[in-house]
């Protein structure tokens, strides 16, 4: 009995210390004298690796998500004879919810796991330590550009996802199922508000990008430097990122809908 309570206590303590360490890690990564001229090429390279290379999967899944929402929405709205509202349905559900969440999940799977594995392998092969020996701060040279790259690209990917998904919905709704193009766009425009819907979707994208890259670089930096440890850290990145994204999405939606 006492042992079980002890085990529970240990879990709690480990959780708190992990959280504290990741917070310290984040603050040491972010709070530093900016060296823009030197960090900029590193950042560009990482934006290429994290953002541009994720573009294909984001665009393809955005297109298919939009088409599926269009198809499903059409058949439901058709029962009420309200197929003109299809544009509104697609735009609101994509911009508010689907685009930030699905982009973040794909981002965690595509880019987050790669970040973790890369940094973890650098740690396992003692590249990070040798950098410290040479007087180069690995947090500045390795972690910081990756973190900023994820933070910057995630909202951009989410916006691109929205636009492509709405185009996919347009393809299915207007070109295939024959909804009137004029009412498709005008109903969409009258119901979607720039500040309430699109800006809030972008805010979600920014928050998810922050959380996903934070988890990814911390898991990589904190990994047990063995082959097994890297595997576990990569798994943890995807699991934690997905759970954090879904949980935070609920909280953010509650805050945004509740009118603060």
């Amino acid at each position: 009995m006492l042992q079980k309570i002890q085990a529970l206590g240990r879990i709690g303590l480990t959780f708190c210390s992990d959280l504290g360490r990741s917070g310290l890690f984040l603050s040491r990564t972010l709070v530093r004298r900016p060296r823009i001229a030197k960090s900029f090429p590193l950042l560009i390279e990482q934006i290429f690796a994290v953002g541009v290379l994720s573009l294909v999967i984001i665009v393809l899944s955005g297109l298919f998500i939009g088409m599926v929402v269009g198809l499903q929405g059409y058949h439901t709205l058709n029962k009420f004879g309200a197929t003109q509202q299809l544009g509104q349905l697609i735009a609101l559900s994509v911009v508010r919810e689907l685009s930030p969440v699905i982009t973040a999940l794909l981002f965690a799977g595509r880019a987050g796991s790669a970040l973790t594995a890369e940094i973890g392998l650098m740690k396992a092969t003692e590249q990070l330590k040798s950098m410290e020996m040479m007087g180069v701060d690995p947090l500045w040279r390795i972690v910081s550009p990756r973190f900023w790259a994820g933070f910057i690209t995630m909202p951009i990917l989410s916006i691109i996802f929205s636009a492509v998904a709405i185009f996919g919905g347009y393809l299915v709704g207007v070109d295939w199922l024959g909804v009137d193009a004029g009412s498709f766009w005008s109903n969409m425009q009258s119901s979607v508000e720039f500040h309430a819907d699109i800006i809030n979707g972008i805010i979600k994208g920014i928050v998810f990008g922050f959380v996903c890259t934070w988890i990814a670089v911390f898991q990589g930096y904190d990994t047990v430097p063995t082959a097994e440890g890297i595997g576990r850290a990569t798994t943890r990145t995807v699991v934690y990122s997905s759970l954090a994204v879904l949980g935070l999405d609920f909280v953010l939606t509650a805050v945004m809908m509740g009118g603060w």
Partner: protein, 162 residues
Amino acid sequence: MRERSIEIIVGLFMLAGVLALLILALKVSGLSNYVSTGGYTVTADFDNVGDLKVRAPVTMSGVKVGEVTGIGLNTTTFKAVVTMQINPDQNKIPTDSSASIYTQGLLGSNYVNLRPGFDDTYLKQGSVIHDTHPALILEDLIGQFLFSIKNSGSSNSSKSNT
């Protein structure tokens, strides 16, 4: 060389993001409709505005000519004061036009409809529309309907008694 091509590709990526945001802003949310194009404001006092919201369209024969910019309460007459901005090219609306609040479809949102009058003078900045028809409240309508049924029923029964 490789450095340069990466920079170009990242630049294109950023441009794609900005372009997508522009599409969302202009095509999806119709932000351009909300950019104030000038025009003049007129007010109208309604007995009841129902579910009218700011930014609701102001139409004339079904064509949008402006939008509602403010809804307030006149504290002396206790009427709702609706401020409307009319597009600048619609400057030939007679002063004796009437304003009514309608509903789009059965479940749609409310909007203001202007019915033109016959006056030779036209509405201008700060004009007040005097002839107004309040929003139709469904509950009131049902109440009146039930009341009239009850009345007609009692008159029938009194007739049969006599």
